[in-house]
């Protein structure tokens, strides 16, 4: 018995794969928006320490020690910077080769205590599982 798979079938599969990649990319973007929006900002060290890590990469990690407080307007700038950091990470992801884990991580030394007080990971889990 012989099956012939024509080119249009392959084209449809390619389109489907692209759609899934776009959906994945949009979800990562939504997670980045929420994570940076609900993060507290004092010096900006925490909110700019988020990373998307593929496999066993090393996360960004900034200490707040010695950094000046940024104030309300500076807080928005820091959140935008944190978001842009994550979008840079997303742009580098090769979705076709992505086989292992993809993790949202925060490598700031004080990330544990910030998360204890603001439960950012819990809110992200509730929204995105």
């Amino acid at each position: 018995m012989k099956y012939i798979v024509n080119k249009s079938f392959h084209n449809k599969i390619d389109m489907l794969e692209e759609s899934i990649d776009d959906l994945f990319r949009e979800t990562l973007q939504e997670v980045a928006v929420l994570a940076t929006n609900i993060s507290p900002v004092s010096t900006g060290a925490f909110v700019t320490s988020f990373s998307y890590i593929v496999g066993a990469g090393r996360p960004r990690g900034k200490s707040s020690e010695g950094r000046p407080r940024v104030g309300q307007f500076g807080a928005d700038t820091m959140r935008e910077q944190g978001y842009q950091n994550l979008m840079v990470d997303v742009a580098k992801i090769d979705f076709e080769k992505l086989g292992g884990s993809l993790t949202l991580s925060n490598g700031a030394p004080h990330s544990g205590i910030v998360d204890l007080n603001y439960n950012i990971s819990g809110v992200l889990e509730a929204e995105y599982g």
Binding site: G112, I113, L116, N119, S121, G122, V123, E125, A126
Partner: protein, 141 residues
């Protein structure tokens, strides 16, 4: 007229306050001075979304969020006391538990528990904290 959030919060807080053998509970925006060496629990109501459950006019809404519980025990005594309290909280809020609450207008709501998960312990002197996330949801008009 009270928001449904008042009733959801009341349902969750009443449920944990009725759970046996837990230490004192620090509620949100209520004065509470922890005594060093004495365990306590903090609770926080964190709604995360209110979305239409179906299409069409006047749809039923799905409310969901997290009831965040932090078990705090004295630092340096090992994890067993905190683990014991955390287990009691998780048992009281097991996934698929439905919590009923009747408000002062005799309206009864039922809050459903989606999950109850603990995270790793963390020392913030003089306390050892164990955070627990309790995911909840409710459908309501």
């Amino acid at each position: 007229m009270a928001s449904i959030h008042n009733d959801i919060r009341a349902a969750l807080e009443t449920h944990i306050s009725n759970t046996a053998n837990l230490p004192s509970i620090a509620y949100e925006n209520v004065a509470f001075e922890p005594t060093t060496g004495t365990s306590f629990i903090q609770v926080r109501y964190m709604p995360t979304s209110t979305r239409p459950a179906v299409r069409g006019l006047n749809p039923q809404l799905r409310y969901q969020g997290v009831f965040y519980v932090i078990v705090s025990t004295p630092e340096g005594n090992g994890p067993s006391i905190a683990d014991d309290y955390a287990n009691k909280v998780i048992n009281a809020f097991q996934a698929t538990t439905d919590i009923s609450f009747t408000n002062s207008q005799s309206q009864t709501i039922k809050v459903s528990i989606d999950y109850a998960e603990r995270q790793q312990g963390l020392i913030d002197s003089p306390w050892y904290h164990v955070p627990i996330n309790i995911g909840w949801y409710i459908y309501n008009n």
